[in-house]
């Protein structure tokens, strides 16, 4: 069993928070991630900011801007992960160009052309070194993922794919063949972002992949205890929460709050959401049927 699946191993629903590393700076980021784990996170998605975050909504997009302005680079990101002292699996969430370009020694805008051909292997190798357990790459559909999949296999990392409400049956088969760690079930159409409600589409999506042997994490728009409970009771093995947490960081930046205060809030929010997930597990048809 891979590293990521560990997050789902205790029969409890997993709580998987997301933060952009370096938002608003490396030091604060570190405390925030630790607070989330203290609050009950079973796994953390650590965002490596890319300049063109096409799958993100405004909340995470702003986080990416803050982080990039703070000077985050892939190497700084890896060092951050290396330094991190938490005992849960870690997922690197980023866009493919950063994976593809890492370690290619030229052929950038500086103009010398490609001497070391770009490709995902150096990035995966380095990620494995620092303790990353898997990847979510939102702009890399399964069809384009062969090289990355191979590198992950080589270094024993998981590659999570997203399943959207629009994903066709044909494509589900393609994804199923390639996915590992968990499958990221997109709760609704659109981009990341906290929402007032969680879509009915979630249950349908979960039903379509019920027989897959990887855990199902549901994300996109989960922001409250109720959402968490409902999603888990609909059959999710875990919940993925990003924007609702990033909102707390954004608010802190705007209102100039201390890192410790923010960490407290994140820890509390994590507890709430984890609690919601647990409630959902108790209320699930499966649990009630027991």
């Amino acid at each position: 069993m891979s590293g990521l699946a560990d997050a789902f191993s205790d029969d409890e629903p997993a709580f998987i928070p997301y933060l952009a590393v370096g938002d608003p700076d490396i030091a604060a980021s570190k405390q925030y991630v630790e607070a989330l784990v203290e609050g009950g996170a079973d796994c953390v998605e650590l965002g490596l900011p890319f300049s063109e975050p096409i799958a993100e909504g405004p909340t995470i997009q702003q986080a990416v801007v803050r982080s990039l302005s703070g000077g985050i680079t892939p190497e700084a990101y890896f060092e951050f992960v290396d330094d991190l002292d938490v005992d849960v699996p870690l997922v690197c969430m980023t866009y493919y160009n950063l994976v593809f370009r890492y370690g290619a020694d030229s052929g950038t805008a500086a103009g010398e052309g490609d001497h070391t051909a770009p490709g995902p292997r150096p990035f995966v190798k380095r990620a494995a070194e620092v303790g990353i357990d898997g990847f979510v790459i939102p702009d890399l559909p399964a069809e384009e993922a062969d090289e990355l999949r191979a590198a992950c296999d080589e270094f024993g990392l998981d590659l999570v794919f997203i399943v959207a409400p629009t994903t066709t049956d044909d494509r589900l088969a393609t994804i199923r063949e390639r996915v590992s760690g968990y499958v990221y079930v997109q709760a609704r159409l659109g981009v990341t972002g906290a929402q007032a409600d969680v879509s009915d589409q979630t249950a349908e999506s979960l039903a379509r992949i019920a027989d897959w042997d990887v855990p199902k994490g549901v994300g996109f728009g989960i922001s409250t205890v109720d959402h968490a409970a409902r999603v888990v009771s609909a059959g999710a093995d875990g919940i993925i929460v990003g924007s609702a947490l990033v909102d707390i960081v954004a608010d802190a930046v705007e209102n100039d709050r201390t890192t410790a205060d923010v960490a407290d809030d994140l820890r509390a929010k994590a507890r709430e959401l984890k609690e919601g997930a647990l409630r959902g597990a108790r209320e699930s048809p499966e649990a009630e049927g027991k």
């Binding site: 909504g57 990039l68 160009n97 950063l98 890492y102 052929g107 103009g111 890399l140 959207a164 159409l189």
Partner: protein, 419 residues
């Protein structure tokens, strides 16, 4: 969907079905002319768009360079540029697909205005995403879109320019894939966009080929077109790619320098074919201006329409495989070429197209440094794709000419405050 290693579909999962649906529709309607799609498209290009555009013999340029220069007059297309060819094709395709709404992004506003015109013509609700910074500096185009009935959505993220508008449009599409088509403005983005946009634009080379045969009995020796994203380039080259005797030159914006400031994340040029590395941007693997880590850098060109960090994947492929030669000229040379064509031929070219013209001057002009290989490559009969008219660029020309010593510019001191 691939051009060698280039191209592909690097998009969020939620968009994959929409892209597959689009590919199917593209194959049926465009490639197989189902329901007479292509017939209707061509007829609308003719009546609404004003095609065919002339292939004009440019007498004074020909004299100046001692070659026979022809201008493919895309500046005469409705809206003032080749952009309509693609916008009209995609909006019509969206209609055939039963879509009820289109979205598009725009930087300088050229693709936005073309899309708004096409949408009004075909009675299709239309929303345009545009960065706030671009909105502030491209007010005439914003106004044109509005009076054509388009809804304009300002994008406040980041620096509020084209990149952010593209991301925002992708998000809208990802949210509304069912009833919405995203009219991509160039030969970029995930498959099938690069191929489809090239097909809609290939009317340029299709006409130019026929006109060459009619007007001088043979194919041209070379075709020269400016390249930003590359839609006019691919349009001008497409039907000549298989003719090995026709040399194809893609002229990129060299900006103020080909170097890059990695610290600032800025490339003072838009020459991704000449200086970029392989990367994945906006849905496709292609040549990209990026820093050592793969972060996309801010590109630059005096011409807003060339100012883009990527380039169409097919063009990147054709450059690697040799049918196309990538060259570049800087901002100053482009401005000089702008003034030259205006004065000598009575045609005010877009600053984009001025880059293609500037390359002639660089290789064949009186001050050229005698690069005989380049001169030989151009041959005797040269077709330059005049991709658009320059009326939209007057403010920029004033501002940018004012900053520089452009030897052939008229005295513009009275305009130094702008129009």
């Amino acid at each position: 969907g691939k051009f060698g290693e280039y191209g592909g579909q690097y998009v969020p999962e939620a968009l994959m079905p929409a892209i597959e649906e689009l590919r199917e529709a593209y194959e049926r309607y465009v490639l197989e002319n189902e329901d007479g799609f292509m017939d209707e498209f061509r007829e609308r290009l003719r009546q609404f768009g004003g095609r065919p555009t002339p292939l004009q013999h440019a007498e004074h340029l020909s004299e100046r360079y001692g070659r026979v220069i022809y201008l493919k007059r895309e500046d005469l297309v409705h809206g003032g540029a080749h952009k309509l060819n693609n916008a009209l094709g995609q909006v019509l395709l969206a209609k055939y697909m039963g879509k009820e709404r289109i979205v598009a992004e725009t930087g300088a506003g050229q693709h936005g205005t073309a899309t708004a015109m096409a949408a009004a013509h075909l009675d299709m609700p239309c929303e345009i995403y545009m960065g706030e910074t671009d909105i502030a500096r491209q007010r005439p185009n914003v106004f044109r879109m509005k009076i054509n009935g388009a809804e304009l959505n300002p994008v406040t993220a980041g620096r509020g320019t084209l990149k952010e508008a593209i991301s925002e449009t992708m998000r809208d599409w990802a949210t509304n894939v069912g009833d919405t088509h995203y009219v991509v403005g160039s030969v970029v983005g995930p498959a099938p966009f690069p191929e489809m946009v090239r097909e809609f634009q290939s009317v340029i080379s299709e006409e130019a080929k026929t006109q060459s045969k009619e007007q001088f009995g043979s194919l041209p020796d070379s075709v020269v077109a400016c390249a930003g994203g590359g839609s006019n380039t691919m349009g001008a080259f497409a039907r000549f790619v298989d003719n090995e005797d026709v040399n194809l030159l893609a002229v990129e914006a060299g900006g103020s320098s080909l170097a890059v400031d990695e610290e600032e994340g800025v490339a003072p040029n838009s020459a991704s074919l000449s200086t970029g590395g392989q990367g994945v941007l906006h849905g496709a693997r292609t040549k990209v201006l990026q820093d050592e880590w793969g972060q996309i850098v801010e590109s630059h060109s005096v011409s807003a329409g060339l100012d883009y960090a990527g380039v169409g994947p097919e063009l990147a492929y054709l450059v690697d495989e040799d049918p196309v030669t990538a060259v570049n000229v800087g901002d100053d040379a482009a401005l000089e070429a702008f003034h030259r064509l205006s004065q000598e031929e009575g045609i005010i070219p877009a600053l984009e197209s001025s880059h293609a013209l500037a390359y002639l001057e660089e290789v064949l002009g009186p001050d050229s440094e005698g690069d005989t290989d380049a001169a030989a490559e151009l041959g005797d009969r040269i077709v330059v794709n005049l991709s658009g008219r320059g009326d939209k660029d007057l403010e920029t020309v004033i501002e940018e000419t004012d900053k520089r010593e452009i030897p052939n510019a008229p005295d513009m001191s009275e305009f130094s405050g702008g129009l």
